[in-house]
Symmetry: C2
Subunit: 124 residues, 2 copies
DNA sequence: AACATTAGTATTATTTTTCATACTTAGTAC
DNA sequence: GTACTAAGTATGAAAAATAATACTAATGTT
């Protein structure tokens, strides 16, 4: 009851996934949107600092290349998870943030990181 | 309070992830164990039929090759998520099931599939 | 004796993903 | 008018993941 009480949960289900999702297995469909080596890490980074600029994301994920980061961000944008806001400034400033649909992934990501914290501690 | 009330939650944290996990980011660590194209699908399949035989898994995931399925199962076994039981029969019979550590992933996987069901319906 | 069965392994090929490097753009500071 | 900045793009190379194909082993059935 904290917020969004007047928001129909179905509001975000109209996203057109028809180019990505062609299966009736919910796991397969979800993996098409958030699967891959980087997307969950990107979302995790944006969750902890929203909105986030391109350069900040790059710094946080030091092993990703600029090219790959750009490509992954574009896919997340295409799938309605992120929005991209370009400021007409020089040098360029671009902010990425979760859309309402993207925010529905917050509990998913929290569940995953909680598992990692509890069961998958590094020995190093 | 349904079950496991006498099971210390820490019981399953002694798994040695030192060969896999070298990071202090819980998302990175978790992705090393359940990341990749197939692992969550394999776990999802085993969850819905546990134990599962190799051939049953192969049938459910019709696009995976035998070689890849074997490789992914071995990694999940190495990481303590699955156990592998070989029956001394001909033709061979091998059963895979979730270990106690693997069972801690059940809510994670349910969260992911629930998101897919709610927000990521196929348009096809 | 030949055949079918299941869960593999071995090897090579292909596809997909990611990386490295150099280049671009438009203002602003020097 | 040269240098600097942030957020890219372009190109080709390399690495990683996945696939295709053929093979094996032990035993029960025909």
């Amino acid at each position: 009851m904290k917020n969004n009480t007047n928001v129909d949960q179905q509001e975000f289900t109209n996203q057109d996934f028809s180019g990505v999702v062609e299966n009736n297995c919910p796991m397969t469909n979800t993996l098409k949107v958030i699967g891959g080596k980087w997307k969950l890490l990107i979302l995790h980074a944006i969750m902890s600092e929203c909105p986030a600029r391109f350069g900040e994301l790059k710094k946080k994920m030091k092993d990703i290349t600029q090219t790959t980061l750009t490509a992954q961000l574009r896919e997340l944008e295409r799938d309605g998870i992120l929005s991209r806001k370009v400021y007409a400034e020089t040098p360029p400033k671009v902010e990425y943030k979760l859309t309402p649909l993207g925010e529905t992934l917050v509990p998913v990501i929290n569940t995953i990181t909680a598992w990692g914290n509890t069961y998958c501690k590094s020995a190093v």
